[in-house]
Amino acid sequence: MPMEYARRVDIFRRLKTDYAGFLTSVLWRLTGDRELFSEALQYAMLEIWRHVEKLDGKKAGAYIYRIALSANSKAWRNRIGKNGHFSDSHLDIAAEPQQKTNDAELIAEVRKSIARLPAKQSAALVMRYLQQQDYDTIAQKLGCSQVTARSNVSKAVSALKRVLRYE
């Protein structure tokens, strides 16, 4: 029997409050572009609403992780199909102009490549590097062993290096 509408709305509002900060933090770091970010956030919210019944429990965090990364991939897929290059408006890492441009491009490539990684690898990578979580936590969230968590992170980094080396 479908969940009562008001109950769904209630859970949805709670999730919005609880995870708005997380979604902003992760999606911004993975997109680095306002338009992409907004698109990814909308996808994420839509998925949360669609699966709100499953998100009323202890595993909500893990589900939302998956939803966020999937939304990021989807937003990037749409963008790549649109014009093939990325915004670098806000990237500001290196001091020298030439290096700055190169780094900005590289960062954009890294972001794009994360969006193309298999789901578990991208999740493990984001948890490890962007959220700086230990392997115990990553394993717990991914529902796997610590060894598998390490393996996923390692595979993700290798995949990024491989992809970026040939692009």
């Binding site: 008001a6 709305v9 933090s25 839509l46 780094d103 890294v110 590097y129 962007l130 290096k161």
Partner: protein, 446 residues
């Protein structure tokens, strides 16, 4: 490519600051998402309320109480515009009466009768006993003209208000809380203070005229505080005509708006000063067959605690703080929930509650339940009204501040010359100095 560089980039991404405008994109996206996703809901709480004729009439009466209460205060203080001598005379008056004519046009609140309303009444005021007001109202309810007579007593000594409706054979008895009563007493016992407020406002001497053969002098002000009604009104124009010889008020004309659409005109005239009154004139006469649809009803708590509860209630209901908290605008915002594309979970819950339980209740119990449900909103509006009437300089920033703004001033009012009370966005409250307040308020406008 240096392999280490990728890991460095990943680590740098983790340190990256989230720009302010990105946070705003999140807020906006989440807000818009509700609007597009959630289906439009109808028949929400207030539509139920609208069907209740009793509630329409009671709402009209409550508005009149608020307006007249403001007028009462105003009249006591404003009788001074022919300056100090007039003030002195009025202070000596122990009892007086006058007639009131009021006409409203434009759209009232949905909780109010749907058409124009006219009211005439006689008001008797005694410093010792309180106020008695007899009103005849003509209004449009459900597209039909409806007449109604009300007799209202406000009795500060008993801390009670009675409203008797002979046609309906009903009466309402409301108890005032200590807070509200204290505010009323302070106001009604200090006409000099009221006079100061009027004299401090920008009023204009509009010259001489003749009213009913009496030579008068007119004074005009547009200061909203001079209209009373606890900050509920705007676009105010008040004209006071004073008998040049007797140095007592002869007529007061008021025009103002009570929300975007509703205008009100009011005239107070035929003043009779220095009346002899008896206690029995202020004893409510309630026939035995009259019923009280709201037994044991108490006026909402008009204190900080009640206001915070009201703010919390409104935030849950609206998904944000109300933009204004004077009673009229506040009620309008709450009522507007019925047309909202994105009702909050709390609003939906309330609707379920109304749909589920209330349908089977008799009209009177329904009215009581609705009044109880709306009590936090009333508390907030009443508290703000007492702050305005008490000249506590309340300022409210609900249009700029959200529940997430824990260090931002949502509302403040004055406690003393150098101390203010502040309620923050997270509804925590504390006292701050004038300097601290200035810093806090400067941060809001940034």
């Amino acid at each position: 490519m240096n392999d280490k560089k990728i890991e460095g980039i990943l680590r740098n991404l983790a340190q990256e600051h989230i720009p302010q405008d990105v946070q705003k994109i999140t807020e906006e996206t989440l807000r818009n998402f509700n609007e597009t996703l959630l289906p439009k809901k109808q028949h929400i709480l207030w539509e139920k309320i609208m069907r209740s004729q009793f509630i329409k009439l009671a709402a009209a009466a409550v508005l009149i109480i608020a307006v007249v209460f403001g007028v009462w205060l105003f009249v006591e203080g404003s009788t001074s515009v022919a300056l100090a001598d007039v003030l002195q005379r009025v202070e000596q008056v122990q009892a007086f009466m006058y007639k009131i004519k009021m006409k409203t046009t434009g759209n009232m609140q949905p909780a109010m009768p749907s058409g124009p309303m006219e009211m005439t009444g006689t008001i008797l005021i005694s410093n010792e006993y309180g106020m008695k007001m007899e009103m005849d109202m003509n209004m449009v309810v459900n597209d039909a003209n409806q007449k109604m007579r009300q007799i209202m007593y406000m009795l500060p000594q008993e801390k009670k208000m009675y409203m008797i409706m002979p046609e309906q054979k009903q009466y309402i008895q409301m108890e005032f809380t200590e807070d509200l009563l204290a505010g009323m007493k302070k106001q009604s016992n200090d006409p000099r203070d009221m006079l100061k407020r009027i004299l401090n406002s920008k009023y204009t001497d509009i010259g001489e005229s003749v009213i009913n053969g009496v030579e008068v002098e007119g004074f005009e002000t547009t200061d909203p505080t001079c209209a009373g009604a606890g900050g509920m009104v705007e676009d105010v124009k008040v004209t006071l005509w004073v008998d040049r010889k007797a140095e007592l008020p002869v007529r007061v004309e008021m025009h103002y708006k009570m929300n975007e659409q509703m205008q009100m005109e009011m005239t107070l005239e035929d003043f009779v000063w220095n009346l002899q009154v008896n206690a029995d004139e202020f004893e409510p006469v309630i026939p035995q067959d009259y019923t009280n649809p709201l037994p044991n009803y108490k006026m909402p708590t008009a204190n900080e605690e009640g206001a915070i509860e009201g703010l919390r209630f409104c935030e849950q209901l609206l998904g944000r703080y109300p933009k204004k908290i004077d009673m009229m605008n506040l009620m309008n915002e709450i009522v507007a929930i019925k047309d909202s594309n994105n009702p909050t979970a709390a609003a939906l819950k309330l609707r379920e509650e109304v749909k589920g339980d209330m349908n089977n209740l008799p009209e009177e119990e329904k009215a009581k339940k609705i009044m109880d449900l709306m009590r936090p909103v009333q508390s907030l509006g009443m508290f703000y009204m007492t702050l305005v009437q008490g000249k506590k300089e309340p300022v409210y920033y609900g249009d700029k501040v959200t529940a997430a703004d824990s260090n931002t001033v949502l509302m403040r009012w004055k406690l003393s010359d150098n101390e203010y009370r502040v309620i923050y966005g997270d509804l925590m409250a504390e006292n701050v100095s004038t300097e601290q307040l200035a810093e806090l308020e400067a941060a809001i406008s940034k």
